[in-house]
Symmetry: C2
Subunit: 208 residues, 2 copies
């Protein structure tokens, strides 16, 4: 249950987060007041108290700029040049793929592997792409897109299941080819309900 924040509380919190990130130091009560339009330090105090109660801040009494962010309100910005990517657990049709409910975890990776902001990650199950060097347990990174070019490796949704395969367009049909001679290609008529391309695979990570 994420506690509800009022307008002013939100603005104060955002301001504090940005100040700490950009200047490396929390703002004073008066600085916050100037930002959110509260002229008395006592008014600001009130807002901060609320944020402390709701678990977004911690304060050290009688200390200048004694404001700290809690774990939940910390900005997980990551170093410049990296990205914090969610590893999706189960993928279900209809539900937005980045829904926090089905999150297996997060990894921070270089931007060279996660080029765009909306890149998502997935743990590979099965051996169907083993000849493309994609093994069970690997984490693959994909950029969301609804279409693909022949030869791309894509993450596709078939009914209720997500799968990673080579994409090949043949006339009116879409071929999802495994990279494993023991598996058969999947053929889908374009426009089949329940079928959807979720993204194109752009990177891979493995732990030995």
């Amino acid at each position: 249950m994420p506690e509800q924040l009022t307008e002013k509380q939100q603005r104060a919190l955002k301001f504090i987060q940005l100040e700490i990130r950009d200047k490396g130091r929390p703002p004073t009560l008066r600085e916050i007041g100037g930002e959110i339009g509260v002229s008395s330090t006592n008014g600001v105090r009130y807002v901060l108290d609320a944020l402390v109660r709701k678990g977004f801040l911690e304060r050290s009494p009688m200390l200048s700029r004694g404001i700290e962010l809690t774990e939940r309100s910390m900005i997980h910005a990551g170093a410049p040049g990296t990205r914090d990517i969610p590893i999706l657990g189960r993928i279900a049709a209809g539900i937005p793929i980045t829904a926090t409910e089905n999150l297996e975890g997060r990894v921070t990776v270089d931007r060279s592997i996660a080029p765009t902001d909306d890149t998502f990650a997935l743990r590979v199950r099965g051996e169907s792409m083993i000849e493309a060097g994609i093994h069970e347990g690997d984490v693959i990174f994909a950029r969301p897109q609804r279409t693909a070019d022949t030869g791309d490796i894509v993450v596709a949704m078939i009914g209720d299941e997500a799968t990673v395969k080579y994409y090949r367009l043949m006339g009116n049909r879409i071929l999802l080819e495994p990279a494993n001679s023991r598996f058969k290609p999947i053929v889908v008529e374009s426009g089949t309900p329940g079928f959807q391309i979720l993204g194109k695979v752009v990177g891979l990570m493995r732990k030995f």
Copy 2:
């Protein structure tokens, strides 16, 4: 030409960096003094002035905790939970592997892939490990160690060349087995000059 810092200046700078990183706010003059063993705020001021002159800090006059790090003194630590790993270019015998001369670049990766601080990375050349899912162009991560267990994938130095292979100990001999039926294993008598194990492969990264 990195300006020389005295003992106290170094300790003060490090303290300021850590405080900003960990607590999100710079220390006061008195806090710094307590840390580096200077009892007067004026003494601390003196040290800080030196750091400002040498380009490691900026200060805002008449502002509590008005210390900022400059670009060069900023900690590019990366988000907590990540590591900045060098990608080695050519590896030559004798030269310390992390020598900055032969650096192809750097990647930031999750600590789950780069468990220790001294993890290094290497770009894979050739197809000799393709059946282990290691392809040409992949970046592998390795933890430095001089020995290995049978079954490990290791980075080994043979004469002037670095190679990635399965490690297998057979009596008095070491077998470096490729994961590709078209390649033959390499046999090395233990103690052969010019042979050395550099590390054990712990992770892999690929860009499609």
